[in-house]
Every structure is written in C-alpha cells, then in structure tokens.
C-alpha cells in the first residue's frame, strides 16, 4: 500500500474543501471498499479525509412525511430503524441481504452508494480494465461474465453495480443530497449512477470533492407495499446474480366486485421496479412499470410486462441465464406482493422427469 496522509475533517464544508483542493485526496467513511482497493492497488489516494465522525449520522422525518438518511448512518442502523422497517420494508430487506453483519456495522449510506463494481477484472490490477485504467480495454467482455450486465452495458464496460441498498432506493425514488465546493445540490438516485458508455471510469455524476450528505426518501401513499428479493449463488454473503426491488399499490376494490361471479383481479394503481445485478447502475424497469400501470394483477400481465423490459437485454455467453432469472424473479415478487396464486409449477404440475441439462 502506498503511504498516505490522514486528516479528520471538522465539518462537512471543511471535508469538501480538503478533498476538492487535492486531486489525489479521497473521503474515508466506513472504508469497507476503499481500504480494500488501496491494498489491491486499485486506488492510491495520497490523502484520506475522514468523515466518519461528522454529524451526518441522523435519521430524521421530513416535513412531507418522508425520511432523511444521513450519509454516515451505518447500514445496520438503517436496516433496523423502526420507521424504515415500517414505511420502507424494501430498503430494510435490501440492506439485510447485503454483505455480513460486521460489514453492515461499518459501511455507511453514502459509502454504500459509492461502492465500486466487483468485476473480477476491475479488482485484479494485472488485467486490462477501462474502469480502472481508461483505454486499456475490457477484459470481461470476452472473459468470465457470470456476474456481469445484461442491460445498458457498452463495449467499454460490462460491469454491474454491486449495491443492494441502492436498488431499493431506486425503486423508492430517493434523492441524493450533495455538498460541493460551490454549494448544495440534489440528484435523483436514478440519475446519480451512470451507465458506462465510453467513460466507465465514472460510476456516478459526483464531481471530485463533492460529498454525499444525505439520502432523502419521499413518502409513500397509504396502502403501498414493497419487497426486495435477491437471488444469489449462496444463502448469504454473496453479491446478487439478480435482485428485484418492487414498490406497488393496488387500486381499491370497487363496489361492482361484490357480485356473485368470480372476483376480477385488482388493478395495479402504481408500481416501481428496480433491478440489481443486471447493469452498471440500479436499473429502473420503466418499460415494465409502464406495461403494468392500470393493468389487472395477473401472472400473465406480470410476465408480459417484464418481457417488455427484457427485450432490450443483451446477455453475454456466461450470463444468458439472467434473462430468465430476472423474468422469473420479477414474476415471483409481483405474485407475492399482489397475493396472486402461483398459476404454474405447483405440486399438481410436476416438471417432467428425466429431462437432461448440459
């Protein structure tokens, strides 16, 4: 590890000034990602400006009934907060599905958003990587891509964003509050992370020296349900193959449904879907959302809606399965949130025996 200077900032503006004034400086909060990168030679800051003790660790209600989450709130505290659990279960579930207890105790809200990809080529400095070393080439594109993107990638980078928390926040229409050298600004979470395009070295729209101070969650209308489902290669402590954050509200049943005939399924009044493990950023499935709004909550509609999204997928040889996995997982989550019975695959309709798989 390259020797570096360490400073503790006395206030957020002082922290911003310190980092903005030194192109080789970096903020240090939980350090769960940055310190690893310093050991691996991915990052070599000359100065670390410690913000972990700054008064950015509060969770407070906003005037409109939402929540403001301080940038240095530990992931474990955020997941356990009663208001988060009560109003935004999708966020609590997402946080608890990520990392380990020890890491969640150290990792912060702002740091979680700024996690860098776990692409194995990005993390190995002996291989070319456009994100780590712009212009050197993408080793993943023709390499091992089980964990890589199927949506929104470019020829320069097929990496995915590793956060679970950010996926839930994308579905919650969260906003990121930022303090910079020239003042405050606020960016919608969906616009905060970038697609790689031809600048994969830039994960987010943050400029050097800008500091995340909080994430604001807008209130959700009465009756809104939410859930996070993460599919991974082991039962815990693994990054997502795919994940789904869903926030959804069904229309109130109308009087006409009280007749003798079979009840028609409720309609979807509002839905927001975000996908993890599939793109360089938390992926809002806007085509699927569009296809679901105002539609009856049936498995058939769910399937068609996510297919409208997945027709834009460009899988790689090792991750073609993700298309099916996303489809099945989205349908599974929507089924659960809407209380729809599983229409296929039940005990009465067994899979055929003796089927061969390569």
């Amino acid at each position: 590890m390259k020797p570096f200077d360490y400073a503790r900032a006395a206030s957020p503006p002082e922290a911003v000034a310190a980092v903005a004034g030194n192109p080789a400086a970096a903020f240090l909060a939980g350090g769960t990602n940055l310190v690893d990168h310093m050991k691996l030679g991915i990052a070599a800051p000359e100065q670390l400006v410690d913000i972990s003790h700054l008064p950015l660790d509060k969770i407070e209600g906003t005037d409109d009934g939402g929540l403001r989450l301080g940038a240095t709130v530990p992931n474990s505290d955020l997941a356990a907060h009663p208001l988060v659990r009560q109003r935004y279960p999708v966020l609590s579930q997402a946080l608890l599905s990520g990392a380990s207890g020890q890491l969640r105790n150290a990792a912060t809200t702002g740091g979680n958003l700024l996690q860098r990809t776990r692409c194995i080529y990005f993390q190995d400095v002996t291989t070319p990587c456009n994100k780590r070393n712009p212009g050197s080439g993408c080793s993943a594109l023709e390499g091992y891509t089980r964990y890589h993107a199927i949506l929104g990638a470019s020829m320069d980078c097929v990496a995915v964003h590793p956060s679970d928390m950010a996926v839930a926040m994308a579905a919650l229409n969260a906003r990121v509050e930022i303090l910079g050298p020239s003042g405050d600004r606020s960016v919608g979470l969906h616009s905060f992370h970038r697609l790689p395009q031809d600048q994969p070295q830039r994960d987010t729209v943050l400029e050097h020296g800008e500091l995340i101070t909080a994430v604001v969650l807008p209130p959700l209308p009465e009756g809104t349900r939410s859930a996070y489902r993460k599919v991974r290669d082991r039962a815990s402590y693994a990054f997502a193959l795919v994940s789904v954050a869903a926030v959804l509200r069904l229309e109130e049943p109308t009087e006409t449904d009280d007749g003798d005939g079979p009840a028609s399924p409720p309609k979807i009044a509002e839905v927001r879907l975000a996908l993890g493990g599939v793109a360089h950023k938390p992926w809002r499935a806007t085509f699927a959302e569009e296809a679901l709004r105002g539609q009856p909550a049936t498995e058939e509609k769910f399937r068609r809606a996510i297919d409208a999204e997945l027709q834009h997928a460009v899988p790689l040889p090792d991750n073609a399965f993700k298309v099916t996995m996303v489809r099945n997982t989205v349908v599974s989550v929507l089924r659960e949130l809407c209380g729809v019975d599983q229409s296929s695959g039940g005990a009465g309709t067994p899979a055929s025996g003796g089927e061969d798989r390569p």
Binding site: D124, G143, R229, R232, N328, T329, A347, S352, G354, D356
Partner: protein, 693 residues
C-alpha cells in the same frame, strides 16, 4: 475433564488445546516470536509461459525499509533445481501465471508490499495452454497416479460386455478445479543461524518438510528444524512444501541472520498452494434389467502442470466399489501452463465418487429400482480389484442405518413431484469410501518426568482436527494412566520422526508408534518408573495389509430444495453414516465428519476455480468470488458411525476419518437435486442457472 479410568480412547474428551486457542495463546506459524524480523512480499508473473527479459528493481531498492530485492539474477543458488515448482528464482523461465519472479524483503510488511509493486518485469511471452478439454491434443498416460497406483486397469472385455448389456448408462461428468483454502494461509518464518535453518511453517508434516528442503539448500536434515505446534487447516495443501517455503528460506540467506516472515495472501493461495485438478469423467455402466452390473468403465481426463506432474487417482474408486466382471479404469493427463495441482481432501475418491455415484443413481432410475437396493445387488464379496477379502466392509449397514435415520422411505421415486412453499424438494443418496492407510515410518518417545508426568513425543502435526487430544488419549490408554498424566509434545522435528497429517493416516500411524513406545516403556521400566526413564517405539508395518483390502465406507444422504422460480438451490438436510473402525474421540471425530460433509456441500453447490484461458489465470481468486458455504448454507447436518474395531487395521483398530466425510457428498446432493427437479446436472457445481425453467 478429569478421567481416572485407564481406557481413555472412546472418551468424549474436550480438546486439550482448546483453551489455549480460545485465549489466542496457541501460536500459529506467523505468531512465533521472531527477533528483529523482516517481511517478504513476492512479485508474481503476469504471463503464463515465457521468459523474463528484464527486471527493473531500482525503484524498489531505494525505498525506505527495503532490505533486499531478490530476482533470478541475484538470488542464492539452490543445490538442486530439479523440482521446478520449488526451484524459485533460479532461472528466467515462467511456467504459469502467478509464479514467483521476484521478492522484496523489508523491515515492514507494508514496505515490502509497496516495494514489490514497484518492481517492473519484462517478458518474452510464448503461447500457452491453460484450459482443460476432453479433446486436448497431447493427452498422455502418466507412469503412475497419486498414491503410487496403476494408471490404467482392466478386467474381462468391457467393450464387448457393454455391447451386450441390457441396460447401459453412458455419461460424462465434470468437476471443476477447486482450491483447498484452509483458514490459516500458508505461512513460513525462516531464519538461518550459520548453516542451520529454523523454520516455523504452516505444514502438515514437519519431517517431510525438512527432508524436502535439505537437498535444496545442500544441508543435512539435522541442520534444519521445522516447528508447527498449531496449524489452521490444510486439506492436503500443506502436505508438501510449496514454493513459498523455499522462497522464504532462500530470502533468509540474504538478511544477515534476521528472520524472514511470509504469509501468502488469500489471492496468492490460488496460484501457489496447490489445488484439485478439474476432471472429465466418462462412466459406462452395463447391467441386467434387475440392476446387476456386468461392466463398469471409468475413463478420466484431467490436468497437470507442465513444470511438475501430479496425476489424481480419480477412477481409483471404481476399482473396488462394486462388483462387475468386466472393468476398466484409465487416466489421461493434459500438461498445461498452469499452477501445480496437488492433494485436496480425498484426492481421487472425492471427484471420482461424483462420477461413479451419480452414474449409479442414473442406473437405478434406468432399471426402475431403488438406489439403495441397486447398491445391495452389486455389493462385492471380495475386493474386485485385488481379489482379497475386505478387512471390514459395512457399506450396506451404513446405507440401511442412514436410510432409517434419514427417512428414506418417504422418498418419492418420481422426480419433480414435491413442492414445499415454492421450493421443489427431493432426497438423494450416495455411497462413500476411503482407503485405510497406515504409514510405518513413525517413532514415539516416552519419558517419565520428576513431577510424575509421561512426556509423549512425536513429530506429528495437528491441523486443527484434534490430534493433540486423540494422541493424548491413545497414550493414556496405552500407558494405562489418565489423560491428565500425559504431556504430549508434537509439531517439531526435534521430536521423533513422524509422517504426514494426510491421507486419513495420521492418527492410526502415529498412534501405533505411541502404543509401541508405551509397551516398550512398560517392558523396560515397569509400572512404577523413575524420573528420567525413557523408551522409544516404532509404528510397525501392518501385516494385515498383505492379506486384506482395507477401506472405510459410508453412506451420504441429502435433502435438497430448489426454488421453483429462481432456481436457487439449498441443502436443507444432510446425514452421513460411516464405518471407519475405532473412533478415538467422538467429539473431534464428529467435527471431522461434519467438516467433510460441509466441504462436500461446498463442492456440490459452490466451489469452482474459473480459468480464464486468455490470461492462464484463475480469475475468481478471492473469497468474494470463490464461494465456500456460509453458515446459512449449512442447515441440518448429522454424522453417525458404526461402533466397531477393525482388528486388521493395526493395534489401534482405527482406519482414519479425515476424508471420508467429503467422498460421495456432492453426488448425494446432485442426486437429491434430480429427485427434486427432474433435472440431471452432471457438471459441478450445481448453480441456480442450471435449474431455471
């Protein structure tokens, strides 16, 4: 725990080293006090094959705290460079990516690592081959395979028998490369005092380690002392010294007598500490309609490193497991520009049992009979390979006991029919076996102390498996005293010679020597010895080995759940029943069995070292990307054993338990996954994508 009765083996004794470990007082290799130490960090090759054309060490050498930068140009010469894995920094040749090409020794680990990053190496790169394929052009037949076994065997006319068999299963199974990944990294602390070398090493065999090192450094074995009182796992990867041991001892020659400390990083362990070869196994089983096997062939393709041969005995299990008049086993190697494969828990039996035991499940289905009944019908009366009687073969008893405990009768033979809360659920079985090996070259020494204790000395090593405790119990029983009266000393070449903690042979081999020493002690000094009375005894060769086939057996049962939507797969229950001869300590034995089964679940569901052929590199070389089971993956796990003493297995009656727990485990999981889903996966690991529908 105070035990006054003499029959100390079989007691559920707490680990005698447990308290020291919990308190952090049991020193592992890196933790031994070293005066004014230096720290080593290596530079690894970034090509898979070629030559070093230039090394620029100037930036590293001028860094504060750097003691030395070693390359092939300035490193001390080894007296023997024949073993190309161990001949570190002796030439400009590169044989695999990740090989040592330079090393920095510095006053701090941070300085060593940063200086190593500043060493610039230029190469002349040559084309490499790093991926194993069944149709590899230059497959060759090794002279012999691991454990000194024959490369190929044949009986009868297998091809003709297959042509005429009523039912044939002809399938190819693959297992990926897997890395041992013990918790404690491979670590060496080396110090030269004149022409004497002191090594604190994380090793499975102190005496073997110095026997390997002595000729390299042109010294007598007596000039080298290797110390390893506590080791944090090895799973075979610490059975033979790897390049880092030589590199550290070599570096210690240029520090003016200061000790050199080096612990491999987790990432480095994927290149430099051995691994299990990937295997491609074709199984052909021919049977009558009622499942009686007439022909069994097992043809294996696997890899070795071009710089050093290792040939896994993958098909060995098919030579003795089931009766078949016509049999064939073959092993062919692809010599690749890759790190050197080596021992990993149950080499041979472990990957081989995946092919054989899944093929048996397929045969059971093809014949329409229960998988346990199929094994009953093919139980051999004698070892099919040698014609010798089995000293002890209780496979069927294990299967029946396991079936009873596991609830096998509730299995639905029709696959893909049980759905529980959205999870397809099924159960499966596989048989397990492991040979009983006892190494004769062991000596123990017993000395009676002035304060009334028996010092029992042998250069054995405890990998964390419980040898400290088991050997204490064996000594107590042989001396007819309580375990608390025994002071065991192990893990040091200053102690009498001992063989490797490997091949499930440690306890039986060292235990025999301790029993021999105890008998000698009583003969020479009687029941009321004086202070200083000392005797030695050896482990004798087992005469029963000539007349009997000595193997342990077991039965593995698994319940698997596969999510109907996402394909996620979990092992909800696993149960093993083993016949392994006498169990010395039920507490540590149970841990060994459960550890093997846990590693088997990892093999079944997770473990896979992914080769990127372009770089010649295992790319998932850390614990974020190379998955082993997390706690949440291990749910209900139970191990049982048959109470027995194998009278043909030497004076202890024990056959060894370190490896049998993993053998057949992955097959049981795969067979259960098939029962759950109707999807037959023949390529490990069993990941979610393979079950998506």
């Amino acid at each position: 725990m105070r035990v006054q009765q003499p029959a100390a083996t079989g007691l559920d004794l707490e680990r005698v080293d447990g308290r020291a470990k919990v308190l952090g007082l049991a020193p592992y290799a890196y933790e031994h006090p070293a005066e004014n130490p230096t720290y080593l960090y290596p530079v690894q090759s970034t090509i898979a094959r070629g030559r070093i054309t230039a090394i620029d060490t100037a930036a590293a050498e001028t860094m504060d705290g750097v003691v030395a930068v070693l390359t092939h140009l300035n490193a001390p010469r080894l007296a023997d460079a024949a073993d190309k894995e161990l001949a570190v920094l002796q030439s400009d040749e590169v044989g695999f990516r990740g090989q040592f090409v330079a090393a920095v020794v510095a006053d701090s680990p941070e300085a060593a690592r940063e200086a190593a990053a500043r060493v610039r190496v230029q190469y002349h790169q040559e084309p490499h081959h790093a991926a194993l394929r069944a149709d590899h052009e230059d497959l060759y037949k090794p002279e012999q395979i691991n454990a000194g076994l024959e490369t190929d065997t044949q009986a009868g006319d297998p091809d003709a028998a297959l042509a005429s068999a009523a039912v044939v299963v002809d399938r190819t199974y693959t297992t990926p490369a897997e890395h041992n990944n013990p918790m404690e990294p491979h670590t060496t602390v080396a110090q030269w005092e004149g022409d004497r070398l002191l090594v604190f090493d994380s090793t499975q065999a102190v005496h073997n380690a110095r026997k390997t090192l002595a000729p390299l450094f042109d010294v007598e074995v007596e000039q080298i002392r290797v110390v390893a009182p506590h080791v944090g796992g090895g799973f075979g990867s610490k059975g033979l010294p790897h390049a880092h041991v030589v590199l550290t001892a070599l570096a210690a020659k240029v520090t003016g007598g200061r000790p050199v400390k080096y612990a491999l990083t987790r990432q480095q362990m994927f290149f430099l500490a051995g691994y299990r070869t990937p295997t491609i196994q074709r199984l052909q089983l021919g049977a009558s309609p009622d499942g009686r096997i007439s022909v069994l062939t097992h043809d294996v393709v696997e890899q070795t490193s071009a710089i050093k041969e290792f040939a896994e005995q993958t098909a060995g299990i098919s030579r003795m497991m089931y009766s078949a008049d016509h049999r064939r086993t073959t092993h062919r190697l692809a010599s690749l520009d890759v790190p050197v494969p080596s021992w990993m828990r149950a080499p041979g039996e472990c990957p081989g049992s995946f092919g054989l035991e899944v093929a048996m499940d397929e045969l059971a289905e093809a014949c329409g009979i229960d998988p346990i009944e199929l094994r009953v019908r093919n139980e051999p009366a004698i070892d099919p390979e040698t014609g010798k009687p089995f000293a002890s073969r209780h496979l069927l008893a294990c299967l029946r006991e396991g079936a009873r405990r596991f609830g096998w009768e509730r299995r639905n033979a029709q696959p893909g029919t049980v759905l529980v809360d959205g999870w397809r659920t099924g159960i499966g079985v596989a048989a397990s076996t492991y040979p009983a090996r006892r190494q004769p070259a062991n000596t123990a020494r017993i000395r009676f102390t002035a304060d009334g204790f028996y010092e029992v000395q042998i250069g054995a090593v405890d990998l964390g498996t419980g040898a400290w405790t088991a050997l204490t119990q064996i000594a107590a029983e042989a001396l007819e005293c309580g375990p608390e009266q025994v002071r065991l000393q192990i893990g040091d070449t200053d102690l009498p010679v001992a063989t490797v903690a490997g091949g499930s042979s440690g306890t039986a081999s060292w235990g025999s020597a301790i029993i021999g020493a105890a008998q000698m002690f009583r003969k020479e000094h009687g029941g009321f010895p004086s202070a200083g009375d000392t005797s030695e005894g050896d482990g004798e060769r087992n005469p029963a080995g000539k007349n009997y086939a000595l193997h342990s057996f077991g039965a593995q049962f698994a319940e698997v759940q596969v999510h109907a939507d996402t394909g996620e797969i979990r092992v909800s229950r696993m149960l093993g029943v083993y016949s392994a001869g006498r169990i010395i300590n039920p507490r540590t034995a149970r841990s060994q069995f459960l550890g093997g089964m846990t590693m088997g679940i990892g093999m079944a569901l997770h473990e896979q070292s992914v080769m990127d052929e372009r770089f010649g590199m295992i790319v998932n070389h850390d614990f974020a990307d190379y998955h082993v089971p997390s706690n949440a993956d291990i749910r209900q796990l139970e191990a049982f054993w048959l109470e027995e003493v194998d009278e043909h297995a030497g004076p202890l009656g024990a056959r060894g338990i370190g490896e049998i727990g993993i053998v057949g485990a992955a097959a049981a999981v795969a067979n259960a996954a098939y029962n759950a889903t109707g999807i037959r996966v023949r390529d490990l690991p069993l990941t979610a994508d393979k079950f998506l529908t």
